[in-house]
């Protein structure tokens, strides 16, 4: 599937977009690593994390591993996807007017 003559990107636009998207991806990845390293990591340094009681009889560590991290993965994924798509639509291709809507306006 290749873009035709009226749909193209310039190398400069793509380079700038790649740099922005790379920053977005690395930023979210660092947050992700802190979370998945932090949940087991806190059990080694903080007794309350694995012995305290948060929901019912579950420790904060169990709550995060059993539910919290999955919600976090979905939220961080949705946020990163939304931001990346917004960056691409703003930085590549310019205003993308629907030809059918344009025809209806005329």
């Amino acid at each position: 599937m290749n873009g035709d003559a009226d749909e193209h990107d310039t190398p400069a636009e793509v380079d700038a977009t790649v740099r922005t998207l790379r920053r977005v991806a690395v930023g979210y990845f660092v947050v992700f690593l802190v979370a998945i390293g932090g949940v087991p990591g806190l059990t080694l340094v903080l007794d309350w994390w694995s012995q305290g009681r948060l929901i019912g009889g579950m420790s904060p560590s169990f709550v995060m591993a059993a539910f919290g991290l999955y919600v976090f993965f979905f939220v961080i994924g949705l946020a990163a996807a939304t931001l990346s798509t917004a960056v691409e639509s703003r930085m590549l291709g310019g205003p993308d007017e629907d030809p059918t809507e344009a025809a209806e306006h005329q």
Binding site: E7, T43, L44, G56, S61, I76, A80, P99
Partner: protein
């Protein structure tokens, strides 16, 4: 297994098989056979990816790991689900925009090198075989446990391996990616339905998750051990605090401090290098659709693993109290604790749904195995049929010849894996490894995360990546991972051995460093600018969207015209 459970199992398998035959590709194009015409929608593809990804290790293995190790078993679920975050951030969208048929094809084109393609084929086949053999073993074990009878004088294990391999080989060879996509999507929905039904049944019986965890954590964790032919319960030692026993609600039952991190990193990094999962992204219509597909996968995976963890806990809490009411549990348990932790979900199914419930969970287990085998066979077919046959053996091949080469590859690879699974004889290995299925699947993740993922991410995001750098990175990553496995097997799975058995935490940075060092000393492809535009530009996506909008507008206009004509008449 009685008639009721057998009827449930056979009915569900017939539905899945019928669906694959009904929607098999009618043409003979390789685009249709390998990529389902690149028209798979977000929800369908997300379900198919889940069907592809959730193998026996996810369905029976996660609940079993939680059952036997408590919180330390939950790290498997965390790692399996987390793997799709790096896929979303670094891989899905550019991979789809660049196109091609497989990971080796992608790397070969991106780095303009046949050598890269062939080395990648070797690594991919190694990963596929590491993943395929335990699935075949899993199908044999499932048949052995749940049907318990062989056919034609064969043992139940051999019968299970042969029947499931033959059935799924037929479905894939004739269904191609289009048929496999829909069967995997339906298979995932059946798998999820089995878990949801079990969760509703357990919660409906008054099970209180929080209280159960608290009660289980209040006592030392005990598990059955076989001493001189006699089963008895033994306290599980704590690997974090040697002076106290392990607890269900706290870490330490399975891993020490380093082991938890090494396992999670191995599973997280491995997902982005799994060929059968990554190949599914080529079937998305656009890069943006591939990105949103991954968001759906993250949601579905979270639901699936949260339920599996809860059911593993429920099995631990409820089975001891059910032994009196269900005498058949006596031979499966030691003082109310299951001898084989993989029995956790099937036993819960039988307690709450009788024989039909057992049949539903058994079908879920076989479906999990079969859908993963299907994805692996297709990835292998794409690799042999397209990357080797079409590119190197017969570049003038017609579409028909190329598709038949893919089908032949499916048959050869499936029988090779079945042969290896039969040769392994899991009963002789259970004494050496706690779970051969889970261990071998983790090896596949480690190999993928060490050899492919670092090179893959660098090739996508670092312009300076070269063919020589990629080859060096893949070879060093694969060799480091294998060498560390061997060292880990010799040392044992305690202390440093925990990290050696899940080596990605060391092997992946090593592979990345070698790729960067070698790339800095060699030349990038001549047409890098065009390759970069294709991989990161959105022109093709916008073109596809414009065509889709025009098509929809045309259909709407036709409907409107037809409506006006009818009104005039």
């Amino acid at each position: 297994m009685n008639t009721a459970s057998l009827v449930v199992l056979v009915s569900l398998l017939i539905i899945v098989g019928g669906l694959a035959l009904a929607i098999r590709p009618r043409g003979v194009s390789t685009l249709d056979f390998y990529l389902a015409g690149q028209r798979v929608g977000v929800a369908t593809n997300a379900s198919a990816i889940c069907g592809d990804y959730f193998s026996a290790a996810s369905f029976l293995g996660v609940a079993a790991a939680v059952y036997v190790s408590g919180l330390d078993g939950v790290w498997y679920a965390t790692g399996f689900a987390a793997g799709f975050v790096p896929v979303l951030l670094f891989v899905a969208t550019p991979l789809r925009r660049f196109g091609e048929f497989s990971i080796p094809d992608f790397l070969g084109r991106r780095l303009a090198s046949d050598r890269v393609r062939l080395v990648a084929v070797g690594v991919v086949q190694l990963i596929i075989l590491s993943y395929l053999v335990p699935q075949a073993v899993g199908s044999g074990i499932t048949w052995q446990l749940l049907v318990g009878q062989g056919v034609g004088g064969l043992s139940p294990y051999v019968t299970g391996v042969i029947i499931s391999t033959a059935a799924i080989t037929g479905l894939v060879a004739f269904g191609g990616m289009r048929g496999t996509t829909w069967t995997q999507a339906v298979q995932f929905l059946l798998l999820l339905a089995a878990l949801v039904w079990l969760a509703i049944a357990v919660l409906g019986s008054g099970f209180d998750y929080g209280t159960a965890v608290a009660d289980l954590a209040a006592e030392p964790l005990v598990n059955p051990v076989n001493v001189d032919g006699q089963w008895e319960l033994a306290t599980t030692p704590n690997r974090l605090e040697a002076e106290s026993p392990a607890s269900f609600g706290e870490p330490g039952a399975r891993y020490g401090g380093l082991g938890q991190f090494a396992l999670i990193i191995t599973l997280v990094m491995g997902t982005a290098g799994l060929p059968h999962v990554m190949n599914r992204y080529f079937t998305s219509p656009t890069g943006t659709a591939a990105r949103m597909t991954t968001v759906w996968v993250l949601g579905l995976a979270g639901l699936f693993y949260a339920l599996a963890v809860m059911l593993g806990t429920a099995a631990r809490a409820l089975i001891p109290t059910a032994v009196d009411e269900h005498p058949w549990l006596t031979e499966l348990t030691v003082d109310g604790v299951l001898r084989v932790p993989e029995h956790a979900l099937p036993v819960l199914g039988r307690i709450y749904g009788g024989e039909a419930g057992l049949g539903l969970v058994a079908t879920g287990a076989l479906i999990a195995v079969m859908s993963t085998i299907a994805g692996l066979l297709l990835a292998s077919a794409a690799s042999w049929g397209h990357d080797v046959y079409e590119r190197h053996i017969n570049p003038q091949a017609t579409q028909r010849q190329a598709v038949w080469a893919g089908r032949a590859a499916v048959v050869v690879v499936s029988f090779a894996s079945a042969g290896l699974a039969l040769g392994l004889r899991p009963e002789s290995l259970t004494a050496l490894l706690p779970s051969i299925v889970a261990t071998m699947v983790t090896w596949a993740f480690a190999l993928a995360g060490s050899a492919l993922t670092p090179v893959f991410i660098l090739a996508i995001w670092w312009r300076r990546t070269t063919a020589a750098g990629a080859v060096a990175g893949m070879v060093v990553g694969a060799l480091a991972a294998v060498a560390m496995f061997v060292a880990g097997a010799v040392i044992g799975d305690r202390g440093l051995g925990e990290m050696l058995m899940t080596p990605t935490i060391v092997a992946a940075p090593l592979a990345a460093a070698v790729t960067v060092l070698v790339s800095r000393r060699t030349q990038v492809p001549a047409d890098l600018e065009l390759l970069w535009l294709k991989m990161h530009g959105t022109a093709a996506d916008r073109h596809a969207m414009r065509l889709a909008r025009l098509t929809i507008a045309g259909v709407d206009r036709q409907r409107k015209d037809r409506g006006t004509g009818d009104a005039r008449r």
